[in-house]
């Protein structure tokens, strides 16, 4: 048993998560930029994909990302009430809730998808979210449903 645990821990150390982050143009992408211009160090695990609004992200997009090898998917939008497009982020929240519910049927841990609110000035918050989420994914290990391509 201890040997297996050791092996797992070693794998966990070498495993570098691949995380796709869907960031909205107005708030979270800008917040990520501020984190960058403030030179806040973050693990190199997250690749941002810019969308105009977090409401653009549909569940199929997220699942495709996992099928193609993402270990984690982060969706970030404006804080509730602040959405540039009035209520888009509320729809994102609902879609995310649905997604989390069906994750069990997909043999994926629900914690592999995260929805966060990051405003345009919250550089440190974005960095914190990235650090926390990367650590979580690292702990969960590599994506079990990745297509072998």
């Amino acid at each position: 048993m201890p040997e297996e645990q050791e092996k797992e821990e070693k794998m966990s150390e070498e495993f570098e998560p691949r995380i796709v982050a869907f960031l909205c143009n107005w708030c979270s992408y800008a917040g990520a930029d501020v984190a960058g211009s403030s030179k806040l160090e973050m693990p190199p695990t997250v690749t941002p994909v810019k969308v105009m609004c977090s409401s653009r992200v549909d569940p199929v997009m997220v699942i495709t990302a996992f099928l193609r090898g993402a270990d984690g998917v982060l969706i970030a939008g404006c804080h509730p009430g602040d959405c540039h497009y009035d209520k888009g982020n509320y729809y994102a929240r609902r879609r995310f809730a649905v997604l989390r519910e069906i994750f069990d049927t997909l043999a994926l841990e629900g914690e592999r998808v995260r929805l966060s609110w990051v405003s345009a000035s919250e550089g440190p918050r974005y960095a914190e979210v990235v650090r926390e989420f990367s650590a979580k994914i690292k702990q969960l290990g590599p994506n079990p449903v990745k297509h072998k391509t």
Partner: protein, 428 residues
């Protein structure tokens, strides 16, 4: 009409690039007017960019302001003239000749990419006014992270090249883009415009002018703007709220109506932002005990009282008659008279003052230059029911925002669009 007069009608001057000035400029540009947007500071955005959040929806202030600022920077019809002050206005509606004194920035707007490498080597450090003196800056500086334009300026009142004639070139040597140019000169810019919109905003009453408010810049008594910078995620403490000695406060009191008696009017927004501070403080320090001292709760409109109702359980609301603040054993001591005429005392760790809102520094000088009226409180224009608030008394010159009286952002934006509407109707 001469060609020059015809051209003047296509051009408008907006003085002050805070939220009201920005809105007026964007509306005028949409109507195909050429806008000269003059701002005295090296950055633009006014007071709103100092806030982290705005009441009552607690929206992120930057998220609200930044897209508008970007629109201004990317709009060909708007020319932003930072470090500019209006010195002279001649002429009349449809044809004003304006002289602007534009201070040199000493950094090229075209070459600089905003990498910030020039700050570190600068030998001069001083308190940063943007951060309400809670943080420091260098003589070559950007007031805060995220400032727009993202280009530093040299403060000639503190840079040793200007104050002592020393040949310090440390910032220039650190710049990879040859963007620093000590030979830049202050300019006088002459503009020919058809109309002028004044949106110069406000400043808070200096608390040191208010007797018994306990403010000395060193104790744990803060002004509203200092509180904003403490809570701001891009502020001097990155949002950490501590006392001057670094410890976290266990109790805090918001004192509304400070300076109201001296000013002679109610500033309208302080109750609301004091409630906002309840939200700020509870967010960072959930265990903190809070008090709100007020003479009247001013929360007009359909959404302000609901905001208070939602927050009032998190604070003790105390109505006072007279109030004095002093310091006692490291605490802040509030001595007040309740409505029932009882004398009471309360000791807290931290006090946040809501000083009266006054016309911005230099307002009277500007009123003289523009030839416009000021009311008995120094605000521009007229407090009358049969004139639009945007009227200044001089044809072709309109007002928007706190220059005409203390008010919230919604009113300022409406006035900005109204002033723009009047300009468009005037100039055709």
């Amino acid at each position: 009409m001469t060609k020059k007069q015809q051209k003047a009608k296509e051009q408008v001057l907006v003085i002050g690039a805070g939220m009201a000035g920005i809105e007026a400029s964007l509306t005028l540009a949409a109507a195909d007017k050429k806008v000269y947007l003059v701002e005295k500071e090296p950055l633009f955005g006014g007071k709103v960019i100092k806030f982290e959040e705005v009441f009552a929806n607690m929206e992120c202030s930057t998220c609200m302001a930044a897209p508008k600022q970007q629109e201004v920077l990317q709009n060909d019809k708007i020319e932003l003239l930072t470090l500019g002050k209006v010195k002279e206005v001649q002429g009349e509606a449809g044809n004003f000749v304006v002289k602007i004194e534009k201070k040199a920035r000493y950094v090229s707007l075209e070459e600089c990419i905003g990498c910030n490498e020039c700050f570190e080597p600068c030998p001069v450090s001083l308190p940063n006014e943007f951060e309400e003196n809670l943080g420091e800056r260098k003589a070559i500086y950007i007031p805060c992270p995220g400032a727009l334009p993202n280009i530093p300026s040299i403060d000639t009142e503190n840079c040793v090249r200007f104050t002592k004639g020393e040949n310090c070139q440390l910032c220039k040597e650190a710049c990879m883009f040859e963007a620093i140019d000590f030979d830049q000169k202050d300019e006088e810019v002459e503009l020919n415009v058809g109309a002028i919109i004044v949106a110069t905003g406000f400043d808070l009453m200096d608390p040191e002018q208010i007797s018994d408010c306990g403010y000395n810049g060193k104790a744990n008594v803060y002004t509203a703007l200092e509180m904003e910078r403490l809570y701001a995620s891009n502020g001097p403490t990155e949002g950490k709220i501590t006392l001057r000695n670094g410890k976290e406060p266990t109790s805090a009191a918001m004192i509304h109506c400070i300076g109201r008696e001296k000013a002679g009017y109610c500033s309208g927004v302080c109750c609301m932002y004091s409630f906002k501070f309840i939200h700020y403080l509870k967010d960072k320090l959930p265990e903190i005990t809070l008090y709100d001292f007020y003479s009247d709760l001013c929360m007009p409109g359909k959404s302000y009282q609901p905001f208070y109702e939602h927050l009032k359980d998190k604070t003790e609301s105390v109505r006072f008659q007279d109030l004095k603040i002093a310091h006692q054993n490291g605490k802040v001591r509030i001595k007040y008279k309740s409505l029932a005429d009882q004398d009471k005392t309360l000791d807290v760790d931290m006090v946040i003052l809501a000083p009266a809102i006054m016309p911005a520094k230099g307002a009277s000088e500007l009123a003289g230059v523009l030839g416009v009226e000021q009311d008995e409180n120094g605000f521009f224009g007229f407090q009358s029911s049969d004139r639009s608030p945007e009227e200044s008394g001089r044809d072709g010159i309109y007002l928007a925002g706190c220059v005409l009286g203390p008010e919230d952002i919604g009113k300022a934006i409406a006035q900005a669009d109204a002033a723009a509407g009047k300009v468009i109707a005037l100039l055709g």
